[in-house]
Subunit: 270 residues, 2 copies
């Protein structure tokens, strides 16, 4: 993929992360700008955690920069460095996309969970009133759980190797969404009886990882989701396919996040 | 011109200026990276004078940024913000190119004058021992005068609407290059008797600008140079062509600057 040559009038966007070299969305964004015919570029900025504050301060002062995206390890820390966080970002305590306001300030929102729900819906899977079980209450898990709650999920069971973290997430969800039956459980690896089965842990990134859930308990009507973008078909998703379950991959979630972030940045579909 | 899609592993370079939208070297740099097959991008950064310090501080912290270029109004102010300035930059009191040192710091040098001399030499014009008259003792004029002095010019007469500025430049040149006969003069617009005739003022940018020098005094052996990149053929250069003089355009100077800056940044020819 080639992008049009960048000239002095190009508008700038940036992705801040550490490490950055492997971040695949950089190509996705730049391909999008090329398709959309925009004189804009998404820059990969390799910025360590200790350097985030001065870099965000400098981004404010770059008058041709219209927004930026956060990846590991900056999603939480950036919250204190911007002028305004939208409600979902405040609830989750993390920001993944920041845009310039009319007054030149920065406001941020969090689309990791909303993007996950978009990915589900794009494949025809409803969320409203459904029952889900989720493994992983870290950054990705927290965003997904809030995204599902916002979308009208009926019940959510959360498991995490760190049981206190799972309990804290369940409590935060109940406080923000009183209609949601959210609880933490030690036996969350059993998918039996749930409409949605969500892996939000890193289990499955390595080739020899066993599925995060007890896959012998999967039944054909269950929708099985995995946040891992690479490999796209994890051991969990392969077993789910074998059991006749529809699957949602990390790539579908990622594409949904990109669409939501683009809308927030005022960029057209494409 | 298209450039290869920028991915997470791209190396970053930046041009800092205010304004930035019209800066034509951004395209030149990005076309060069594309031709050379490098996964690198030259970013236009729109940064005002008051914001230079925090932006340079942030550039230090961007671990995938290998260097940057300064244009108006930052060439002087950046000198106080980098760790080391090479001798030519210290003499001129300005920096146009900064590179990362082995220890992660920033060191800068000034290639505006050296690039001008490269442009002259690329067209077969020697500088050693020659006599030059120059109009303009501002940023560009100062850089060119030091570049000519470093290249072994024999004598330089300098004129400027601000006579004190012309005298100060002549004094600085004599201090740094005792072998150079440098002086300021009120009648510098008369090119009579000089080997090199250099316009380093903005006169000629506008279509209806009269030539900066008294062109009726030009004789065929004189080399006539203009720093103005656009229009490439100014009224001065058109008159010089009419008088049978070889000319050196702002573009030739600019190309020479680019080659010198690339070498400094460790980038291959191309």
């Amino acid at each position: 993929v080639a992008i049009p040559s960048i000239d002095g009038a190009a508008r700038l966007y940036a992705i801040l992360g550490d490490p950055i070299g492997h971040v695949r969305s950089v190509v996705g964004w730049n391909s999008y700008f090329a398709r959309a015919g925009r004189n804009a570029v998404m820059l990969p900025l390799h910025v360590g955690a200790g350097d985030l504050a001065p870099v965000v301060e400098a981004l404010r002062r770059m008058r041709n920069l219209d927004g930026f995206v956060l990846t590991m390890p900056h999603k939480q820390a950036v919250l204190a460095l911007i002028d305004e966080a939208l409600p979902m970002a405040r609830r989750i305590g993390a920001v993944n996309t920041v845009r310039r306001t009319a007054s030149g300030g920065f406001e941020g929102d969090m689309f990791d969970g909303i993007g996950f729900v978009e990915g589900l819906r794009a494949l025809g899977h409803a969320v409203e009133g459904r029952r889900a079980t989720q493994l992983g209450a870290g950054g990705a898990g927290r965003a997904i759980a809030f995204g599902l709650a916002e979308a009208g999920l009926g019940a959510l069971r959360i498991g995490d190797a760190d049981a206190a973290r799972a309990r804290a997430l369940a409590a935060d969800l109940r406080a923000a969404y009183p209609a949601l039956a959210a609880d933490a459980a030690d036996d969350a690896a059993d998918p039996g009886g749930f409409d949605l089965v969500v892996n939000a842990t890193p289990v499955g990134m390595k080739d020899d990882d066993a599925p995060a859930f007890a896959v012998d308990r999967l039944r054909p009507a269950q929708v099985v989701c995995d946040v891992i973008p690479n490999p796209e078909i994890t051991a969990l998703l392969r077993a789910a396919q074998g059991a006749g379950c529809p699957i949602v991959t990390g790539k579908a979630m990622f594409d949904g996040q990109l669409r939501a972030a683009r809308r927030f940045l005022g960029l057209p579909d494409g």
